[in-house]
Symmetry: C2
Subunit: 301 residues, 2 copies
């Protein structure tokens, strides 16, 4: 394939993943009903906010490498996106990052109220595990249990939640590059890693394949963070739909503030090459995954 | 056994359950470590607050009916108590019930801060599923998956979270007995029901036994709510360690406010007799479970 046809294939795959996971979530999330309909409404409001669906894309594409049935991969993608959405809803709360806008529209606690946002987040976290444990997700209960275990670990107090805890203390802390990379690895890296590992787990692929996908995910997670930081420094409010320069305003160290813009770009480039090399054993099936790191590098422009 | 020796056996069983689940949680919950130690500390602060451990007691005793290995039942009890604790931490938040004290000491957001309390709650919810999915909980992955599914359902947006959502709207709503009973069934009943059903699930006992345990749990949950409401009306701050008359002060309907004290007591008595009859097939093994409803009825004095 030429570069431009690869780009087109990548864009199409990203769009397809978003469509597939949105359809699945619409079917899985409860319809607003009963005296507690408000929590159902808030769950849907938070989930259907037009996100990039990067994690579902990673699940679907990693699952393709191991010939996983698509409807199974889509369910896991839905679980991860529900869990990712919960983390955004709670992170936006006044006692956390105190954000009024996300993707250009009111955050869940602004559109509803704080109590409803806490509960909707709790419910999205809970339903993620319900989705994974359901027999429709995989015929083997052992595989389903591994998905539950690995997601709980990735999202828990030594994963994503631990990362957010560190982030809450970051404004007052004098973090160096090691601490900032740990923060990123936990806060966003753990769930990205699970998204990629999920394909290997669903396909019962074995430890070597799983480790390869985790390594790829590790690179992608770091590229994502660096380009996010670059966006934060360079972009304008119109493009991202959220307040710009926020991390800098709060005095938080980032890889970009620590390394400088040029060195951070260079690091992201090296990670991109490494991520692509990691996928060598999978041939053309991995072309779409290979297109992701360059796509992320282009985000800032 | 005489009534007094039955009471002694019940008290001993309640104490043993508390000790067993506390030991397990101390082993399972992460030791405070790393840049994110604060969330580990808050999890432990919230969990080790001297609760009655009613739900662990129900798991252990229902598991005894089906000859479940004790260490397996203790792990499920630990998962349920972690999840129950998360619900208390989030319910106490300023945006929810806004409680400064629980069991006579500062609530988690008072002892730490709101962000840490939200995260510690999230982490306790997450670890509950990690505990259940772990092979140490049961040798059969199908059983572990059922535990995950059933807990997620009991705790989710059509279970406990749904109940809390209704409760948040209760002050403004003109609820009748049906709505109040639905609120209770979701908010506290669902988790009590799962605690009792867990014994049957762990023992792979089949649908009839599970239904019996769920019926017993349904009665116990309602007795618990009625006696809690009676305590709220009748007791003093010293005895319960939390603000008294709170529900009434907020204008929320309760079964006691709707039925009156005498009729509520009568209803609780009838539920107690029904719960005890339900356990008839299990002979003496169920004696301790049979002692629970009368114990709850005596709470108010």
């Amino acid at each position: 394939m030429t570069t431009s046809s690869k780009n087109a294939a990548f864009g199409a795959a990203l769009g397809e993943a978003a469509e597939a996971v949105d359809t699945a979530l619409d079917q899985i999330l409860p319809k607003p009903e009963g005296l507690h309909a408000r929590v159902h409404e808030a769950m849907r409001y938070a989930v259907f906010a037009g996100g990039k669906r990067l994690r579902p894309f990673l699940v679907l594409q990693s699952a393709r490498l191991f010939a996983v049935r698509r409807e199974q991969a889509v369910r896991v993608a839905a679980a991860i996106e529900a869990l990712h959405t919960y983390s955004l809803v709670h992170d936006d709360l006044p006692c956390m990052d105190d954000d009024d806008l996300r993707r250009g529209r009111p955050t869940t606690h602004k559109a509803f109220d704080e109590a409803t946002a806490v509960l909707a987040g709790d419910a999205l976290l809970t339903i993620a595990f319900e989705i994974l444990a359901d027999p429709a997700t995989h015929e083997s209960a052992s595989v389903r249990c591994r998905l539950v275990s690995e997601l709980a670990r990735a999202a828990g107090c030594n994963g994503m939640i631990g990362g957010q805890m560190i982030d809450m203390q970051a404004a007052e802390a004098a973090f160096g590059a090691d601490e900032v990379m740990l923060l990123q690895r936990l806060k966003t890296g753990a769930l990205i890693e699970f998204s990629c590992a999920a394909g290997a787990i669903l396909g019962e692929a074995g430890a070597e394949d799983e480790a390869r996908l985790r390594s790829y995910a590790h690179d992608v997670g770091l590229i994502f963070q660096i380009t996010d930081d670059l966006l934060d420094v360079l972009s304008t409010a119109e493009k991202t739909g959220k307040a710009v320069g926020k991390d800098q305003g709060q005095g938080k160290a980032t890889l970009v503030s620590l390394l400088g813009i040029d060195a951070a770009r260079e690091k992201a480039g090296a990670l991109s090459r490494h991520a692509i090399e990691t996928l060598a054993p999978y041939g053309e099936t991995a072309d779409v995954l290979r297109a992701l790191p360059p796509f992320l590098l282009r985000r800032e422009s």
